[in-house]
Structure formats: C-alpha cells, structure tokens
Symmetry: C2
Subunit: 611 residues, 2 copies
C-alpha cells in the first residue's frame, strides 16, 4: 500500500484498518533502510502512528508541520512522495535524515538542532495571523527537546500572545505516563469535554467525596495530594505559561490521536497535546534497548581509527580516581561523548543537564571557579548554542573549564546541520582560551593532561575517530614538524594531518618535496612560541599552505595569512556541506589528498617553486 | 555611616533603623554618581534594601552571592569596600558597572549578560556539595532575566538534583504582586510555617468555608478559581520544576526579607524567594519613568553623530506603511534599538519576545519563510546568544531575515561584557549570509533598502551613532574608495572609516599619501565584485592595511590576508576590552587616528614605501 501513497492527502480516504496496515509497512521500511544506511531508528519507529494521525488531520503543505530535530521524520518522508528514493537515505546526494525544504514542499524547514520547532512554528502562526490566512501550524517535539531553554522562551511568547498553534509533545520516556496511570485518560476526556477544562470538575468530584472530620480529612488530603500533584504535573507547567494542555494520550492509537488533534485545532490559542509513545516500537531489539538504537551506523561500516570519545572516557575515569577535582558535564550526550561509564563510576561528579548547552557551559564555569576541573563534552555543532556562555561565563572569568569538542570537522551522513566546521572561526577569537586539536590519540591524551595542568579555559576539538599514535616529546600545545624538507610547508591539524601526509607523498612522487607542520594549537599564531615557529616557517618556505576541515572563512589559514602573509588557504568552502561519507565530503570540499596535491602543486608552480 | 562600612560583615551589628538610614545614604550616593557617570539607575535603586538584607543574612565572601546581569550591584559595591572609589564608576580604569572579581573578592563572577546566574550559582552549589563544604549560594535575578531560556534550563537541573541554593527573584514589574494582592502575604506566612508548605492548609481553609448545595457551590468555585490560580501562578511554574517557592514579599522591607531569607537558607533544596521591588525607588523621576532611567548617559556627554537606532526606527515605520511584509523583532530592547515608536504604530507586526535572543532569531526565520520580512534588532554582544539559530534556522533555511546588529564595535562605559567586537568573526563564516557595515547614516538607510530588496539572510552591523552622510551612487554593498592616491590603501568599514580618513590626513602631512577603501560588505573577499576590487587593490598598492574595531583575530583583516596576501591587520587585540570612553578604548587598542598613522607609517617604511 505504501507505494500507492503519493501525498498525505490520500490518508484522508483510508479506514483505520488500512492506516494500521500502512503503519506496519512504514515500520518495516524504516527498519530495513535504517539498518542498511544508518540513521535514527528508535525515534522514527516511535513516531509512525503519530505521523499518520497528524497527516490525516492536517492538510499539508498548506498546513505547516514541523519536526523538532527532525530525527523522527522518516514516516513523514515516506508519506510525502519520497518512498521510491528512500533507500538513498543519508547517502551522498540522497535523501537527508532530517527535513529539508530543498527535498520536498512538505518539509517546512531544515531541521537538525533541538528545541527550535516551537519558535519556528510560532513564526509561521504569527505570520498567518498578520496575513489573515487560516492554515494550521503544528510542531512535533520530543520530551528531550523540551529540556532546551528555547522551548521555554517560545512557550512563554506563544502563551502570552495566544497564537493558535498545535504543539505535539512526543513523550517517549513514558515517565509522566507511568506516574499518572489510568487517571490520565479520565482527565483527558474531562478536559476535552470543554467547560472549565477538567480542573473544576476534578476538584468538585474530589471534594464531594470528602470524608468529614479532622484527622480523617488530613489523612485523605495527604493521599489526594500525591495523585493531584501527579495529575497536574505537566498541566501546571503549561498552565503557568498560559498554554492549553491535553493528554497524555496513547501515541500508537491513531484513532484517539486524530480525535484529540481535531479538538486541539479548534482552540484559538496554543495547545500542547501530550502523546506517549514507545521508542523503537515494533522492533524488539530497539524496544528493549532504545538508547543503543537511537543512532544506528550504516551496515558494513568499518570504523577507521580509534574512537576519541572512548579515549576521553577512559582518561577521565583514570584521572578522577586520583584527582577529586575532575568532573564531567554533558548535554544529553553521555553515550555519544564517551562519558557514560564515567557517569556510572562517579555519579556525583558527572552532570547530564539535558539538551541545554548554554546551562552546561555556565554551570561548568561555576564548578571551575569553585575549584573543580569540569570537562564539558559537547558535539561541535551543538557547542554553537553555548558560544556566548563560553565567551562570557568561561573565558571572561578565566574559569578552568575544558571544552571537549567532539565530532569536530566534517562528520558524514547527518548532513548540513551536523558538520563541526564552524568551531575554529567561533573559538579562535575568544580571549583567554587555548584551542587545541590532536592529530592522533596520543596527542589527545596529552592535551587532556595539558588542560588539567593549566589553570585556564581550554578547548580540545577532535573528530569521531583518530589514528592511534604518540604525542612525542615536549609540550603538546607546541607546533611540530611531522616531516621536513623542500620549499613548501603544509600546515595542518587534527585529522587533516593524515591527509597532509598522504598529499605530501603524492607531491614527492611528482617531484615536489614538502614539509608537514602539525599546528596543535589554533589561536596563537602571533604571540609566543608558536608564533615564532610560524614566522620562521614563513622565512624558510616559499609557500605555506594551511589544510583544515574547518570553514576556510575564519579558519587557521586566515590567521596564518594575517600573521605572516598570504598562505594558500585549503579549508571548507563557504557553503553548508551535505551528507555523505567523510571521504565523499572531503572530495566535495576539494580537501582529499588528491585535490590537495593538485592545489598545492598549482600554487607552487605559480610562485615558481619547482621542487 | 556609609563611609564606615568596610565589609558587609559590619551589617550584622546594625539595628533596623541604622540599616534603613544606611539605605538612604546608599540611594543618595547611587543617584549622585549615576547622574554624573551614567549607568543603570532604576534597577540599582530598586535593589538597595534587598542587598542590605542579603548581606545581613549571608556571610560573604565565604557565602557566594551572584547578581544576574549585574546591573543592580551598586549597593553591593558600596557595602564591600568600594565606597571611596565609587566616583570612578564606569570610567576608564575605574570601577565596573557590573561585578568583576578582579575588583573585589566579594564579586563572585564577572556579570553582564542576562539569565546566567542560576547556572553559575548551581555550579558553585554543586561544587560545594562535592567538596563537602557548607557555604551558602545565592543568585539575585530580575523578572526580566527570568524570560531567558537559560534560567529554565538551570531551574530544571537545580530542581531535579535538589541542590541547596537561594534564588532571589527581584520582581520590579509588580505584575504578579498586583494580581495577587494581600492574599499573597497570607500565603507566604502559611508556606513559611512549615508542615505541608501552605498548599494543604490553604486548600483546607478554602474547603472549610465551602457553602453547601449545587449551584451556589458552582458560583463559589468560579470565584475561588481566579484567586486560586492567581495565588498559584508562580508557584505552579516553580512547583512543576520541583523548586520551592516563597513569596511574594516586600522588597523594601529589610526586616521581612531577612526573616524569609533565613527561612529559605534552612531548606535542603533550591528555593525561590519572590521579592517585589519598585524600580527607581527613592528618586521620583525614575519611579515615574523607570524605563527612561534604566540606563542613564553620563552628564555632559555630547552625542557625536546621529543615533543609528533612530534612523532604523524611522525607516521601518516608513517602509511598514507601504510594505505589509515589514515586521520588527526585539529581545527586550525596543527602546535601545529604536523600535519603540514602530511597536506603537504597528503593534501587530512588532514582536518583543523578552530576553530571548535564541527564540527571536528562530521565530523570525518562521516569519520570513511565511513571506514576511522581519528585521531583528539586537545589540551585538547579545546577538552572540543567537549564533546557532542565525546559522541553522536563518542561514541554512535561506530565510530572508535582516539582523540589525546595534552597538557593534567598541561600546564605551559598559565594559568587557558589552563590547560588540566579536560579530565579524562570528558572522563572516556563515554561508548564505551577507554582512554589511555602514560608515554613515545614508549608507545605513541604503543597506536597509538593500536588505529588503534581497530575498536572503542579511545582517547590518553599526555602532550607537554614525556621522550623517550619503550612500552615494551605485550598489551600497559594493566596496568604494573614499579617497584615492599613493601606494598604501587603508581598508576600513563602519565607524572606523572616519578614523581612517583622519589617519590619512596625518599621513599626508608626514608625506605619505594613502587611499581609503570603504569595505561595506565583510564576507565576500574572495568571490564576486568585491573580491575583484580587492584583488585590483592588492596589485595596485604596495601595502594594504585593514582597520576595524572588531577582534583582529577573525576580523576582515585576516580575510583580506587570506584572499590576497599579508595585509597589516589593525583590529581589536586578543583580550577583553575594559570600560572607557570610545576614544579611550580606541587608544587602548591602538586604533585611534594617531596610532593608526604611526603603525601604517612603520609598516610602509619596512616595505620600502616612502610616499
């Protein structure tokens, strides 16, 4: 049946049975494709019925549907004419793993970072009101995304301005559902029945059942209090922000969801519908271990190199055993950043704050100024959320926080929103901060040591994996020649040092000897010892080329050029980088060894350097 | 009496009468100094008694006291040994207008940006628990700061981890107080009396007073509902986050505050004490118009040039009259950014979202993708909070949002936290974004027109004032020679074009003719028409110098060097810039005309360019 659905409008003609059968087909397709191509499995399996119900009630693309993060949009893609291309998911030039308007008019916005959907949806809703149009706006977000401060900012605004919109809270932790149990359904029906939306009725019933007399009454209240509080726990939060709340309801019951969504769309103000789903629903391994199947690697993918997260995790445990100051901070990424084992061994010194990078950085500043040594592990692209806090709370205070910036540089299949290519431009201009990048696991460990030794803000940025290797003698923050000779010097850092070495071999074959200089610190091209090394290199070589998988605009290449004159800047071009394998992305950016070889050769010839 | 207070410990020996007299002295001193030196008047006058009460109860510096934003810390400064130096407030090398640990051990952190105090305080509190120490931690924040998402992230974390800390909510809008009226006092006393913290007792009393019988009961409930909801409105919010809530109480009643703060410090979990103060308290003009006296300019300050905010405000009104797509977005800065009049004329198209820059940027993306043309006006330093949303929600979506980046560059007396010197480094590397900087008001207006004409993300950055002037013929985003001649070219933008022209005159007197090139767009040094102009300049001149009041590291100078070889980069050095007049700051950075003249002359001589 799935193949016959060309647009979501067709859902309106299906029976409930047909929709349920469709859900099974969609689920099979998601499992099969994700296990092959990699991607977000658990969250997408949880949102199948939810998506069918939403598209049955809404009329997209006139109605605007937004998926927060977008890691639950596979069913949506399958229902909006992308079934045939679905096996290109997350491949180079294939379908994105997130929503992309360039792919389909049904994708309202490009998604990838958490907690922004309510803000965006509110923009669509306010514009509708101004233009006196009448479309519906719906945002779907998970309970995880709701921990981000942006959601609160947006709810605060939406509640106050009373803009009509639907917010579907896709709660797959089931925490509230468990607490509330069967009474929740009762409350939902009461609320939907209108009048004074449940609370009054509930209170009246409770009071009618009041036993008379002092002590018994007190005991009764003590019992009532807990159920009352449990019932109202989400309600209270949304109520205080003037947002209507309906739920929780079963997020795998298409018919009930359609009913509640229809009710919600009749309100003339923002409504949260709280939907409870099961992560990994319909795929036993994922249901049992949803976190393991949150992100799945492509079948047959062979990890090259060693996981930096595991190096970091092991080092932190080792240090924490002897150094009581060592602490870890994560923003809902304990597993991805390698802190999971650390959090089990040292729970009192490991803080997972939710999807709240801003708070993570500022709280770490507080920890550091109190004498602890927090290591804040964030993915590069999500670290962008904390730029201001890193500058103001960490750097201005000279707080000895170490930022562990994982997934730095090109990142593969997650596409435009997940490349860590802006961190050099962002961090290099912050005063008081040392920014380092290791080219192998030995350097990573040595940089962790250096960070702990220094009493100042420190950042270490690294990709998912690095080759095994040694830091060698001396200060690991010092620039260091890996190979030396010739009239051309390729300055590089991080994973790109390996590419530079490959390019150097190719160039040698073509008769041009080059040096490779490992720039292990990125922001002291002018002063100090590294500045001296750079100035000497500038005098020694006829050509400096700077190779990096960070944005060329704002990268180390520009700093080198600013310090010692025109270097050949080989960095990520001025555009968002689409999904692909890292090799494909390097080629796309002309940063693979072959391209680097040619670009260096061309510039060397232009400058009259032949060998 | 104030002169005799060397440290806040002395407060513990004063009677209530003495404290009240002290409050009057502090207030006089604040009024007198702020009217002379400029600064935050209303907020500081509102927090005098609050500060006395806190320092009476706490034992700083062992106990940690944090002021959110820090724009209410003057009384704190006067009570912590800085009375004598207080007349140097906000002056070059004088006392900062915000807390600065470099000034005093009583200043726990450097402050300046809103909504981070709970995160920082939580760091101090968690570190205390880990170290098994026993100090108190207190954060003071205004109701404005509570609109920032970071607060929610921090409260969410604090509530869950049950860390002991005091959060003083300094509510000077009096909105909640008005709603709640006299019943609030009752509630506070109930809550403080312990047991089941008020709610149970309140509910019991309400129920005891229940009239019997159907219809009367219903009417009663309908009345009770409103007062109940009003009573619980803040309570509900904090309760849902598992934060204890006390208040509201009178923030000018020292004795009551001391009592409640003492109670709050006995809790073994986070407590919010809701304190109601009057902005501008004790200075009639400020009480009547607190917003006017929020920020006061130094006495005798003569504004040079025209306010960019007023140019922007007028242009927006003019455009909005004929173009229905034009909308304005502000993050609690309608007045400062010139949007106040616009918001009155076009209330339905002007959105003030509170101190919520992240939401402002993302919501604007939603508005823009729906066909509107939002202009988001932010101060440069606060725009830093929205970097990720500008990149992901605006630029990746190619949403035609125009960022109006006010207070860009050096900013004067507000010091380290308020300089707009990182915006070039931040924005230049974002794909799809055009970043422009006008050198006079005519160019500013022409750039606003250009932004509206283009269907793409656009940023215009400008200082508080610019000289009046014309844009001249042709495309305003194109680089343009202001004067031409000689073998040296000074490339500059924004307010620094005037400095470049002054330096050019000085250089001419010394026999060196220079050109001045106005780089009106900052991020297309490689491709396009501006790239061509730059390459031609590089061939024509023996020396290119790039002059900017943005961080040199990450600035236009580096981009120029990266594109065409070594330029002389004259930008803001790699450190945080302290308060001073803009002239003093320019000198401090060696960016005043005299310094520029010398630096250019030196480099020209080094390169053998004599005239």
């Amino acid at each position: 049946m799935l193949e016959t659905i060309q647009n979501p409008g067709q859902l309106k003609n299906l029976t409930l049975d047909q929709k349920q059968a469709l859900a099974r087909e969609i689920r099979d397709r998601i499992i099969q494709t994700t296990l092959k191509n990699g991607g977000h499995l658990s969250s997408n399996l949880g949102a199948v019925e939810l998506t069918i119900a939403l598209h049955s009630v809404l009329s997209a693309p006139e109605d605007k549907l937004l998926f927060d993060v977008g890691h639950q949009c596979y069913a949506h893609k399958l229902l909006t004419g992308r079934c045939e291309r679905f096996d290109t998911l997350r491949r180079f030039q294939g379908l994105s793993g997130f929503t992309r308007p360039s792919e389909s008019v049904y994708d309202t916005v490009a998604s990838g970072h958490a907690s922004d959907s309510i803000s965006l949806a509110l923009g669509f809703a306010k514009a509708r009101d101004i233009k006196k149009e009448n479309y519906n706006v719906a945002a779907v977000l998970g309970d995880g995304a709701l921990t981000g401060g942006m959601c609160y900012e947006a709810l605060n605004d939406a509640g106050q301005s009373k803009t009509r919109m639907l917010i579907v809270l896709n709660d797959n932790e089931m925490s509230i559902s468990k607490n509330v149990g069967s009474m929740s359904r009762h409350l939902t029906h009461m609320r939907q029945s209108g009048a004074y939306r449940g609370f009054k009725q509930f209170l009246r019933k409770a009071i009618n059942r009041l036993p008379k007399g002092g002590n018994r009454m007190e005991r009764f209240f003590s019992r009532v209090k807990d159920s009352l509080k449990a019932l109202l726990v989400s309600d209270m939060f949304f109520d205080s922000l003037d947002i209507e709340y309906l739920g929780p309801i079963d997020g795998h019951d298409i018919s009930e969801m359609e009913k509640v969504f229809r009710t919600a769309l009749t309100y003339d103000r923002p409504v949260v519908v709280h939907v409870v789903t099961r992560k990994g629903k319909g795929y036993a391994p994922a249901e049992e271990n949803p976190s393991k199947y949150h992100g799945v690697s492509p079948a047959g993918e062979i990890a090259s190199g060693v996981s930096c997260a595991s190096v970091v995790g092991k080092w932190l445990i080792e240090k924490a055993e002897t150094d009581e100051r060592v602490a870890g901070v994560s923003a809902a990424m304990l597993s991805g950043t390698g802190l999971e084992e650390f959090s089990k061994r040292f729970p009192e010194r490991c803080f997972d704050v939710g999807i709240a990078e801003e708070h993570a950085a500022a709280m770490a500043a507080g920890l550091a100024l109190s004498g602890l040594r927090p290591f804040v592990a964030l993915y590069s692209t999500f670290m962008q959320r904390a730029y201001d806090q890193i500058g103001m709370d960490v750097c201005l205070n000279r707080a000895p926080v170490t930022l562990l910036i994982d997934r730095s540089g090109l990142n593969g299949a997650d596409g435009e929103t997940h490349q860590g290519v802006f961190d050099t431009a962002l961090l290099k201009s912050l005063p008081n901060l040392t920014v380092c990048a290791p080219s192998n696991t030995g350097e990573l460990r040595a940089m962790l040591e250096a960070a702990l030794e220094r009493n100042a803000p420190f950042a270490i940025k690294y990709p998912k994996t690095l080759p095994e290797g040694e830091a060698g003698e001396g200060d690991v923050t010092r620039w260091k020649y890996v190979i030396k000779g010739g009239k051309v010097c390729v300055i590089s850092y991080g994973r790109m040092v390996s590419v530079a070495l490959k390019a150097a071999e190719m160039l040698k074959e073509k008769g041009l000897a080059v040096s490779v200089l490992n720039a292990r610190t990125l922001n002291d091209t002018i002063g100090g010892e590294n500045g001296r090394i750079l100035r000497e290199a500038s005098e020694e070589y006829g050509l400096l080329a700077v190779l990096e998988d960070s944005a060329a605009c704002g990268g180390l290449g520009e700093s080198v050029s600013g310090a010692v004159g025109g270097a050949l800047c080989l960095g990520v071009p001025d555009r968002f980088i689409p999904a692909g394998s890292i090799d494909e992305q390097l080629k796309y950016c002309a940063l693979d060894a072959g391209s680097v070889c040619e670009r260096v050769l061309q510039e060397a010839r232009a400058r009259g350097i032949d060998r």
